[in-house]
Amino acid sequence: MGTDSRARASAREKAAEMRAAERRRERRQRILIALGLVVAVVVVIGGLVGVKLASGGKATSTAKPASPASDQIIKDVTSVPTSTFNAVGAGTASNFPSPINPPGPQAAGKPRTLYVGAEYCPYCAAERWALAVALSRFGSFGTLGVTHSSTVDVFPNTATLTFHNASFASDVMAFTAYETATNQVNQAGTGYVPLDTLTAADQQLEAKYNAPPFVPASAQGTIPFIYFDGHYVQSGASYSPQVLAGKTQEQIAASLADPNNAISKAVVGSANVLTAAICTTTQQKPVDVCTSPGVVAGAAKLGTS
């Protein structure tokens, strides 16, 4: 091999080495870029988690605490026209009371409807509208509050009434209500600030009848829970709180008189079914209410869910 050949071979080797070195450099660069991208993704997610943990990692419901309902809201809720009740019938109610066979314990005096719920609970928020409308056909509320469901649960901040400290008077029935918690998250961030405590007797009643075979296993122990003086029991809301989304108490209350309104179809329809369940406890009194077309339509739904 001549000198020129060796020189050319040497040059080729050097060029190959330079190309190889360049490839290695590019490879390192690409690996660093790839690594940087992956690290950036992890840092963003880690940052979100870090900020959450730094803020205490607790749920912080910003729902306003309860306050007294305005006269207009009470008027709208308690004076839904009979024509609206009859036009709506069962409306869009989708969850109905189930019969208790044989009948459960009944109150000593007037037949009593027992309600257990909580202010944070969006399903209770929906049910209170219907229950308040239904109860208004049997008596009258002295005081009634307004509140919102939790802002950190499903259907957040649903506008509603509250039965905490509510007073109700009727010639034909009694009403007992427990709101077991507020809509304010407790300091530990593990739940909500407690409110009403059930009496031992009502606790026993709730424990027994808010469980199979009286309610589906999936609904055991859930709220809202309504016990219709040993005749019927309901666990869960009668309709989805979705229909109330974004509405104020004033808007919801004002919608009730219109039988073609989606809110009215849900609330008044559910109220007719609840009224029918209460009528079974009051021996169909008041007669004009319990035999009205709306309530008769509601009665047809009892025990069908």
């Binding site: 991208l37 950190v152 909500y192 859930t222």
Partner: protein, 160 residues
Amino acid sequence: MSAEAVTAERSVTPARTWYAISSFVLSLIGLGAAGYLTYEHYTGSTTLACKDTGTVNCLKVTTSTYSTQLGIPVAVLGLLFYVVMAALCSPPAWSLARRWGAVTWVRLAWSLVGVLMVFFLVWAELFRIDAICLWCTAVHVVTVALFGVLVFAAALADEE
């Protein structure tokens, strides 16, 4: 083939195979989890009741206002994402990528879409819904892992 090329082929083939297998397996895991969430979305509990005192749970996430985007359930979007991803990470797609490099970049871009969605959903879970869904978290972890595999696969694609 030169000795250098043979050496290079030997050194990159196992890596390419590893990327292909791991990305396909991750896609199938993601597809399974997204499929379960979609099934739950359409058949899950419709009980209109509060089960507890607002403690963290999956139902709270999957029924939140953030569980639907542009009118489409997020679970369905996740399923769609993983159907496409499983196709892009399938063995035939990896073979195609060797002849047609654009497949590599389409695959990477698609996984980036998934990562951006993960950012949004993690933010929503932590700061808006205040709840963590473990099935959703599993999908998020798989999506980020898949992005990691594909970004390295793309970075070293020229060596194949």
